[in-house]
Amino acid sequence: MGAVSLTDIVKRFGSFTAVQRMSMDIPEGSFVTLLGPSGCGKTTTLRMIAGLIDPSEGEITIKGKRVNDVPIHKRNLGLVFQNYALFPHKTIAQNVAFGLKYRDLSKADMDRKVRDVLDLVQLPHVADRYPKQLSGGQQQRIALARAIVIEPDVLLLDEPLSALDANLREDMRVELKRIQHRIGITTVFVTHDQSEALAMSDRVVVMSDGRIEQVGTPEDVYNTPASEFVSRFLGISNILSATSKGANAGGLSLELPVFGQITVPKEKAPHVEGAGPVKLVIRAEKLLLTDLSAPRDERAAFDGVVEAVDYQGQAARYFVRVGDQQLQAINMIDERPFQEGETVSVRFRPRDCAALPGAPS
């Protein structure tokens, strides 16, 4: 049993069901991310683990102990909020020491722990300041310090980076992961930002409409999406309608309009059974655009016309038409980006594709 486990959790708000029969196990010491668009139930799930709201049905255990009826202040959790929720009328040292007051500690022990944790978040010099005197990134570190100083069983992070600006967010991402790794604490992280989820997590739980869509390592969910939702939510994907001709020795044989016959390895189509309609998922960055004259390799090649270019500096996103299909390709720029109206060779490896059962929605 994991550090945190949810069994058949349901949460209803009036007639609206925010979380629909959800079960998951979070292993001790792991960094698990609940990822999904707003309204998918990820924050509701986190708040149920925290004890801020009660599940309508189901059981929550922390370290093997059922906590449904344990009030929040007895759950021994570290909670970090999106807006930091630092106490504005207390100094940084008082903020960090707040949770220690409720744990039998001597004054000397408390002071030592506050000093140590401020060192850990690399802000040893701000103890006597007030939260308003710190920058957003510093406040975020203090919120984290206040949560971990009580040595909680689980650290719960509710979109902690979304109030920071872009560059700082990436720095904090690394910092947060470093601290989590150092103290080895079980962490549940809620975000709608796929790059945060992919960069930080041991495991990603992709959610939509109160349900789990997929659980897996960042590579799993990115490269082998279990549903059309996951493939659309993570990165940019081309989803093409295809027909399965059934499995053969090389993998799953698919028939596509325009692109013809393609064989996808079986492990890239774990959910497809036998013949019938399927969806072929090609990641935008796996679709390579080259000059027509470029030498052929193992990739399948088709002629296409660039219809629009979204220039991004080191890379560009192209909208390219092949036959009657419009595809998106993200390529690094070599010397110059392709221009609108240019005819290019559109190439991809069948083994980079994934197949999902059913027709595209």
């Binding site: 009030p71 929040i72 202040h73 909020f81 106490f87 504005p88 007030y130 949560a147």
Partner: protein
Amino acid sequence: MSVEARERRQPWILLSPALTAIGLLLFVPLFFIVVYSFWLRTATGADQAGFYLDNWNEALTDPFYRDILFSTLRIAAITTVACAVLGYPAAYFIARSKGNKALLLLLLMLPFWISYIIRTMSWINILGVSGAVNWVLLNLGITSEPIQMLYNEPTVILGLVHFLLPFMVLNVYVALEGVDVSLEDAACSLGSTRWQAFREVTLPLSLPGLAAGGLLCFVLSAGTYITPLVLGGPTDAMYANLVFEAIITQLNWPLGSALSLMLLGVLGALVLVYNHYLGMGQLMKGLG
């Protein structure tokens, strides 16, 4: 005219209507009252201009005036505490209620649609000898004679609380609205109970509102004369009643001026002391 000169003048142009109104309606009359307080009312009933200290001597030393000043401050203090105790939970409820805040606030404002005097007099219909409470007591046979519940200090305080409670609730409400709900959640996650979280976080952060509401209630109740006139007995006069009596009944404007300046001075001094200890600056320290 340079741009800088124009920008410097702009705030004064915008402030000029307000400054004119305050100057003409507040400072000029106040100046006249100060002048009046040094005049003397002669036996013939005419006011004699000059610089006499008789009125001030009377206002400062007469034990009758001093006693009423103290009981006025006592009534104001009790009223303020009662408003805080009754008003804070109501404000907390409104600030934390999920929907219908607008409706609750409207209900709070509703009494202001009726004249303060009429609201004060409504207590006669409730607590008077032929009022609702006595009617119920008589009909239930709990008492055979109507009980006189009005015209004493408690009913004066009751009337004042009735009048001033919305001011307290609104002030506390505004302060609580500014306190992030997740602060209490954060405190609870760190190990404090809901009550401890309230005491450690929400209450201190809402103190500026409580202090502002308290000041308003105190000053307004210390300066009232309608409530003791309607709901008080002959011995329940408050300080403003003395001013009313001197100016309206005895037509002794010089004495009334001195008495009203006395009240103004005492309340002003209290506000300064209050501001020093519970002032906004003090409470907001550290909030940046």
